[in-house]
């Protein structure tokens, strides 16, 4: 099975803070990590490879320093890493991002399966997985919590829903986004770390992926972030006291005022 796993470098959630002056993410001195959901996607890919054989390719779009997470992924069981990196990609929204990653995947091989985390913990859009599937013309399933079996090019899996889960069959090639319940990601191995140190990470530029420049980066992004800010805390609170009947009466009155 030829599996591609999309991973993103994000600031460690433990360190995230906004610069009060610019209202942008303060990235200086903040440790970067593999997006936690993507770690689960990688682990599932490695498990599938171990069970059914195949290769796992990790792919990431980002600045040159994102190479670190690709090496980390190799130390955890991936076979090779591809970094999509070019100044032309800067400022991409999810539409431009899915276009760029799709072009890079098409350039790099023909995956049977593409795995993504449910969403990234910085942007939190959960749009890249489904968007990428559209670009690759693949069926997709989001929020996968378990892969039960693989038989005759078909995956049997479970998709988490608000009120339970769906059991689905998906014909490959397909794209899945996974949630953290799907597995416990392994730590790196010593042999993996040795391999990661030596492996050559392929870097693809806009030219390498034969991209249409109007669909890249800020130019190709219809989404414009006007402002990012921490909401001011303006809420007032008051304690409702008295007997249950009195409390209900007070609450009803307050709610009625709001309507």
């Amino acid at each position: 099975m030829n599996i591609f796993v999309c991973i993103k470098q994000v600031p460690d959630a433990k360190d995230v803070r906004l610069d009060p002056e610019t209202n942008t993410l303060a990235r200086e001195g903040v440790q970067s990590i593999i997006n936690p959901y993507d770690r689960h996607a990688l682990e599932e890919a490695v498990r599938l490879k171990e069970k059914y054989s195949g290769t796992v390719t990790v792919i990431s779009m980002g600045p040159p320093q994102a190479e670190v997470i690709l090496r980390e992924a190799v130390s955890c069981g991936a076979d090779q890493g591809i970094l999509i990196s070019d100044r032309a990609f800067a400022g991409a929204d999810t539409l431009a991002t899915t276009y760029t990653i799709a072009m890079a995947i098409k350039k790099s091989g023909t995956p049977d399966l593409v795995l993504c985390g449910k969403q990234a913990i910085d942007g939190d859009t959960a749009q890249v997985g489904p968007g990428l599937a559209e670009r690759l013309n693949m069926p997709y399933v989001t929020c996968v919590r378990k892969i039960n079996d693989f038989d005759n090019d078909t995956l049997l899996l479970e998709r988490m829903m608000d009120d339970g889960y769906d059991e689905l069959e998906v014909q490959l090639p397909a794209l899945l986004t996974v949630i953290k319940e799907i597995n416990t990601p392994r730590l790196p191995s010593l042999k993996g770390k040795m391999k990661a140190k030596k492996i050559e990470i392929t870097t693809l530029s806009a030219e390498d992926i034969c991209a249409d420049s109007t669909q890249l980066g800020l130019t190709g992004s219809p989404t414009w972030v006007v402002n990012v800010f921490s909401p001011e805390f303006t809420g007032e609170r008051s304690m409702i006291t008295g007997s249950v009947d009195e409390q209900v009466a007070q609450l009803t009155e307050k709610l009625t005022e709001l309507i």
Partner: protein
Amino acid sequence: MDYFLTEEQQMIKDLAAQIADELIIPHRAELDETEEYPTEILDAVAQADLFGIYIPEEYGGFGAGCFEIVLALEQFGRGCTGIATAFAASALGVYPILISGSPELKNKYLPDVATGKKRAAFALTEANAGSDASGIQTTAVLDGDEWVLNGTKQWITNAGEAQIYSVIAMTNKKKGPRGATMFVVEDTDPGFSYGPKEKKLGIRASSTRELIFKDCRIPKDRIIGRQGAGFITVMKTLDQSRPGIAILGVGLGQAALDESVTYAKQRVQFGKPIISFQAIQHMLADMAIQVEAARALVYGAAKHIDAHPKDMSKVSSMCKVFATDMAMKVTVDAVQVLAGYGYMREYPVEKMMRDAKILQIYEGTNQIQRNVIGQALNKEYS
């Protein structure tokens, strides 16, 4: 202090530290309380390839030496002495095969130990034989193509959890220590069973039980080395393994120091953090000096041992004594710094103090180590 590790050594240390921080420390209190063997954690250690550090590459290991395993054990020891003991005991159990085993035994057992698929244990101690290894009463008699073992081994770490046991037994009682021979016993061998799990003061995540051999029959070729050379193999094994126990003391001392400094910075008395008081500062300073001195000695000893010197026993014993006596003192001081809180199970230092004591006892008491050092000095200066 920077010990100028190579890139590979730094990788081993970082990986072991990650396991300690992410897998060991979050679970140590629970495993200490329930006295459960840390199977899942050891499986993760196996997946990280760390069981193979000291196993030669031809048997699927990393081919590194005493120093590299010391680096990993220090981090595991910083996490939990009990869990680290379960890991270290497997190395102790396999060293006899590595040191004296035939190529067939090495081929049969080392690859599975390197991958962590199987774990090992070392069986020397008996009710009347510990410090005095020559008091062994377990016997092995050759009967056709099989050795038949009878006797009981006591306080065996990893008993019931390991699949491979290096066992010393008397094959000729008249010859004393020269009549002792080592064998590999497998967990599935007929006539082999375990006593109940011992209740211990510390290292409660590790398993300690008796090994019972009742007409236990094993194939003839499971002999480690030659007949009568068991005692030599045991001594060589312990020379290799003692820096591993020493570094558990360093890891534990470091953990106790870390907890003490962190607490002393937070705990406010008389309007100030207690770290601002000289009485506390001096205690912490002494702890830090001792931990670093022990680390330097153990690292130096491990590198010395990797060069296969003649005075291996002396150096190995020296680092074991110094680092484990240090661990006992530093953990007692840590409880003192945390005072009432330190005495409570809610904080980790009482466990550290309980765990420290065994380091002065197992793999040769610190009194026996001083004998070894003293005898070596006597010889050296003659």
